[in-house]
Symmetry: C3
Subunit: 334 residues, 3 copies
């Protein structure tokens, strides 16, 4: 494995191997496995879990990290090719990224969607332009439409909890004050499909996931024996569900159009998860969310604080999952 | 010792043990004592000494640190229970804090007083709500009304300088452009009382420390053989003093009322420490301050740059004192 | 070597020794050479390469770093002596700097020129006032008129590329939206002269380097057998050049006068390096720049992306050059 950019780049068995490695590192730490190795991370967008869990995970394997945050301690970086750089961006990613990568043994980039042109974002134009300048093992710390570290951690969480491989998994849109990117819904949908689950995407009208994202998940489901469908019918979707994975995202009908998105959103006042959502679900149905989550907007306190919630376990699993990625990328290289 | 939140949680002998350990680690480093261990720190408020000395101290024991700063590289965190989170705070401390703690072996939190409701702050409401979510060894990096790391470092400084256990210690209010929290005056007063000193709190009218803080110090003095009193008479307070510890804090009569505080403050132009303050003090009287200090507002240049000042030693002692805390919290756990 | 503040503080042979050590550490890493040692860095100005390459380089030698950024996570620091500190600067460098230095084994400071009074900046008044408070090995991470780490890395790059010691080196002013400091042009000019090169400073009228900077370079050239001259004639300057080193700086005729600087700058539209600049240069002429560089303002895309550009190598060389500095400052001390 030279890069960890998308779970879809890996065979299903390779993912299972990573998960086994994550479980093994949790039980049997290898505190010197990556001694002397250096992880560099650049965050174009804020982070809490990724920032902390990668630093902690790298240290638990004996390695070291450095973090660069453009716009904060470091100037802003320009992405646009051919730009005449006379504005507030003092350096281009075509210099900044390969320079930073040249100091380390493994490199990670976080760069969210631009959120204006869906085709541009679906093609991972910005992330890929940076990735092309990096000749080191590279990790996607969340890009326009992907978040493979979250997906791997969530898969581990499903395994840890004994959720059946073919169980019913509902990915539901939930309320948020404004449009958020498609990275986590896309990665979560694909992960559950690749795991072999019976996946339902529950979302209101105007928030259907792009065909490219749905098709990628359908392909993964076809290979794993899972299934993928979508609906706006909550009761039907949650019937017998073993997992409700809540996530916020922006209107795809009004991509990049904040006013259009807000107009749709204004009529979706009841998309806050509360216990009533679970009326027809499996009695043990789990509540998942990648965090950060807005309490009493996306989900009610009583669900987050109740026995269904496994959000802390998901977040904790970021660390062992990423330790497995780091180990696989680095332990056998020189 | 599972937590280091308040010097008052420890028996006096346990503090003396910590101080002995700090002195030993200064003389005989243990560069592998905490190898592989990880310290996570979250700073809701700015820091210089705490940020640097904990990272350096942890590294000197072989461990690693990560730092999270909400509002800077990480979104802002909500503290309020039951909040409907539709504003600028993207995550609640009830998720953010236990998640971060789950990545490390020892965790530290800095969260200053809210400064509006004195009872809320005196009860350490905000800090305790976070502490309740942490199941790891925990360190108070300064809370609403406490700063035990500073207190321990200051006690070490008094020992290093040979200040007698029962010597005369004056904690004096000094000028500042605006109200500051009670954390350091409260912790300093309690520390000096617990050490067994003859403590005088010197402060202008309207700046008396809250009864809860005074009573806690009196209890400590009763146990150690020390004493605690307050006055607004500078000459009387400093008569024979061996230590003048200067600190800024807000009016307790006008707690949370900036205008009321400012009105009192306007008439306190001569509360800048200069050499005249020491006229009746012990000839060797030391000048202490926890830093940061505003030169020529809280204290004159000639005092800070003169032989009485031990502020650099105090600041340096943060590191060995905190190394002792880290060592005690972690070295014998698994 | 106790401090690394200026290449001019070293004998030429000592620089050659550092470069040999840098080359050796690149080939034969010493991952435990600085085990347990701590580098502290304070950045009064933004950074990308310095921030990352020092952390990575220190880690590659087994050491650890901490970073403090006044104004970001840490309050702003006051520099002015005798200041009455009732504004937004909560701590003076006379406390902040020695305190931070007391936690580490080697310390670095970045503090750009104030940019108002040339004599103040040429005297390194601000940097030296801080340096005077530090009793540890100290590294200049870029001061008002110096950047010795960049100079050492550039010298290494010239060696790596086989540029003859007496080759023709052109330091050229290039376009930028506004005035930038003199640190890199001053350090680069001196470095090339000390290396023994035939150095031409190419700059428009109003941008001549200060006499103090020119004279220092002439002294270095006299000792090394090199030469230093200046011109505003581009064709003449680049005739036979083996290196074109582009750099932006502010008008020295209008130092600290943004309007005067901008008025001069408005007529310099053709000072963007493109391939036409190399018409009479050596066929193999290299393009150098310390980065960050504004594409299509200072230099055209086709030059940066073409075969002449060695800017990534320069940037990468920051790491081994600085590892040599850290090693020399620390490896034989206790």
């Amino acid at each position: 494995m030279k890069r960890f950019l998308d779970l879809a780049d890996l065979e299903r068995d390779a993912v299972l191997d990573l998960l086994a490695l994550a479980a093994r590192l949790e039980q049997h730490p290898e505190p010197r496995a990556l001694a002397g190795r250096i992880l560099g991370m650049v965050f174009f967008n804020p982070s809490l879990r990724t920032l902390a869990s990668f630093q902690a995970g790298m240290a638990r394997l004996g390695g070291t990290s450095f973090v660069v945050t453009p716009g904060q301690g470091t100037w802003k970086l320009e992405h646009k090719l051919g730009a005449i750089m006379d504005g507030d961006r003092a350096e281009h990613v075509r210099e900044g990224i390969p320079v930073l990568a040249s100091y380390c043994d493994v490199f990670g980039i976080r760069a969210f969607a631009e959120g204006t042109d869906m085709a541009f974002d679906l093609a991972e134009t910005q992330f890929n332009a940076m990735a092309d300048t990096v000749d080191k093992p590279l990790i996607n710390l969340e890009s326009a439409v992907n978040h493979p570290c979250q997906a791997l951690a969530d898969w581990k969480t499903l395994n840890d909890l004994g959720v059946p491989q073919s169980g019913k998994f509902v990915l539901s849109w939930v309320k948020h004050p404004r449009a958020l990117p498609l990275a986590v819904p896309a990665a979560t949908l694909h992960m559950a499909a690749m795991r072999g689950m019976d996946v339902t995407v529950l979302r209101p009208d105007g928030f259907a996931l792009p065909e490219a994202i749905m098709n990628k998940a359908r392909l993964a489901a076809a290979a794993s024996g899972g299934s993928v469908r979508e609906t706006d019918n909550r009761a039907e979707a949650l019937q017998g569900a073993q997992v409700l994975y809540a996530k916020e995202w922006g209107s795809t009908r009004h991509y990049g159009d904040a006013a259009g998105d807000a107009a749709l959103r204004a009529h979706l006042g009841d998309w806050t998860v509360d216990e009533s959502w679970f009326a027809n679900a499996d009695a043990q149905c789990k509540f998942m969310h990648c965090l950060p989550v807005r309490r009493n907007v996306a989900v009610a306190d009583h669900v987050l604080d109740g026995p269904r919630s496994v959000v802390l376990r998901e977040a904790h699993n970021r660390m062992p999952a990423q330790m497995a990625v780091l180990h696989r990328l680095l332990a056998h290289s020189t």
